[in-house]
């Protein structure tokens, strides 16, 4: 750089590459830098990642538990593809025909059979082996429509149950309705608790990652001040930190997925034995969607934490 060459290329002119190429190159450098820092400081970095993994695995385990409850319910329901609909005592032939017509239009209903009060009484007498019961003058039993269901999933049964509640001719139905609802409530409780935990522990992740990055920023404060002095933009200074945060979060999510899988593998055998005692077959396994969710949530929270922490401290370090 001879003095005469000074006039050839003043600042900000000349041999800078295309902004997109510069941006891509810097992203590459930041990714390599983040991986390098991870390797150089394995203990500190992996301690944070492990904490994130444990924190993220808790809501994931609760959600998995909810999912398993739902599966148990569905498995039990699979054997109960029958549903009895009890009609109001004063229903007319037209009411019954109208209801049967509505039921036949339901996609979940495979077939139906109407049982008159007398036929019901005969069946009852036969089943209970009580003589004379079928010779009563008028049967006290209501009309019953026996349904065979095509689809026994919990959600489908609940939809059908909702529809039945709105039919004026229907007095009641036996679809395990109450315990299905209870099971659904338990499942949604686990689901909601999982999301609440995810939110609460997500905040913890933000603070844990944020604190790690704050320490990182403190160590690099001279470098940041210098980069600001020589014309580095806030985005330029923030970018390495975003990679640090996102990578930490992503690996934390991966650790959480491993922890959840390990926990499920550990309880797999007792759960299978328990299910078998109820005549069901359950094989607890990690849901790939949950793994994807953990990785995405981890990456996002790490990135968000880096954004919040980085912007705050970089603004303080680099501007008057």
């Amino acid at each position: 750089m001879s003095p005469s060459s000074q006039t050839e290329q003043p600042a900000n002119r000349g041999n800078t590459s295309h902004p997109l190429a510069t941006w891509r190159r810097h992203h590459g450098q930041c990714l390599r830098g983040a991986l390098g820092r991870l390797i150089r400081r394995p203990l500190g970095a992996w301690a944070t990642i492990l904490v994130l993994g444990i924190v993220l695995s808790l809501p994931a385990l609760v959600m998995t538990l909810g999912h398993q409850v739902e599966r148990v319910g569905e498995l039990w329901m699979a054997d109960a593809a029958r549903m009895d609909v009890y009609l109001e005592p004063d229903t007319t032939t037209e009411d019954r025909a109208e209801l049967a017509d509505w039921l036949e239009r339901q996609p979940t209903v495979d077939s139906l059979r109407a049982i008159s009060p007398d036929a019901g009484l005969q069946t009852l007498a036969l089943r209970l082996q009580i003589e004379g019961l079928d010779s009563m003058e008028s049967s006290p039993l209501p009309w019953v429509i026996e349904l065979t269901l095509r689809d026994t999933r919990l959600e489908t049964r609940l939809t059908l149950a909702e529809g039945l509640h709105q039919q004026p001719a229907v007095a009641d139905f036996s679809a395990g309705g109450e315990w299905i609802e209870r099971l659904e409530q338990i499942r949604s409780f686990f689901d909601e608790m999982g999301w609440w935990l995810m939110g609460l522990l997500g905040l913890t992740v933000i603070f844990v990652v944020g604190n790690t990055l704050r320490l990182e920023l403190h160590e690099r404060r001279r470098e940041i001040a210098l980069v600001a002095l020589i014309g580095g933009t806030e985005r330029y200074m923030l970018r390495p930190l975003l990679y640090d945060g996102a990578l930490t979060g992503l690996l934390g999510g991966a650790v959480a997925a491993v922890l959840v899988s390990t926990a499920l593998a550990t309880v797999s055998e007792p759960v299978q034995r328990f299910a078998a005692s109820y005549g069901a077959a359950i094989e607890p396994a990690t849901d790939p969607t949950l793994v994807g969710l953990l990785l995405t949530v981890g990456l996002f929270l790490g990135w968000l934490s880096a954004q919040l922490t980085g912007r705050y401290y970089i603004a303080r370090l680099s501007t008057p």
Binding site: M1, T7, A11, N12, S17, V227, A228, I230, G231, P320
Partner: protein, 223 residues
Amino acid sequence: MIEFANVSRRYANGQFGLQDISFRVPTGRMAFITGHSGAGKSTLLRLIPALDRPTSGKVMVGGYELGRMGRHQYPKLRRQIGVVFQDHHLLTDRCVFDNVALPLQVSGYLPGDVRRRVGAALDKVGLLDRQRAAIEELSGGEQQRVNIARALVNRPRILLADEPTGNLDPELSRDIFDRFFEFHAVGVTVLIASHDIDLLRQYPVPRIALNQGRIQGFEEPDA
């Protein structure tokens, strides 16, 4: 051009770092800022690349009025200014080459250009053979030369130096000043703050004398 118009900088404790400072350094000119420790030299220099803000008054640098600039405009201004500090501000976890390359990387230069320019800058300050050396392996004088190479590698329009020879012996100090003159000779505006009045008097450059944050006087070069 650098222009200060009635600039004051008052700190939170009520003390003035600078008080009613007005001067103008035209484009391509060189000036010294003199004064004892605490006179306000560093405070004045920090205002030019917007590292600090004046409490009142107007600072104009290369056509920008700093008071009207947003934060997002600072990088553009700062890429036109090279700064040399007394305490070097070098990154000790990087080698000489990486320290000097930093302004070019920040500005988005191609890797080939970075290598060429850094090589030329280090050659100019006599450190080409030490480009892979760790900063801690260098002497104080060598570190200051790395500092100068970094300040000039981006070919700035303005060069600011704050006590650039503070820790160096007289011979090295003259060597450093000679390098500043080489860059001033090709049109770079140079502003150097130093308390070493004996050294400054050896050069035919106008001086702005500060005392307790105020301009004590303008001194023309000794005949």
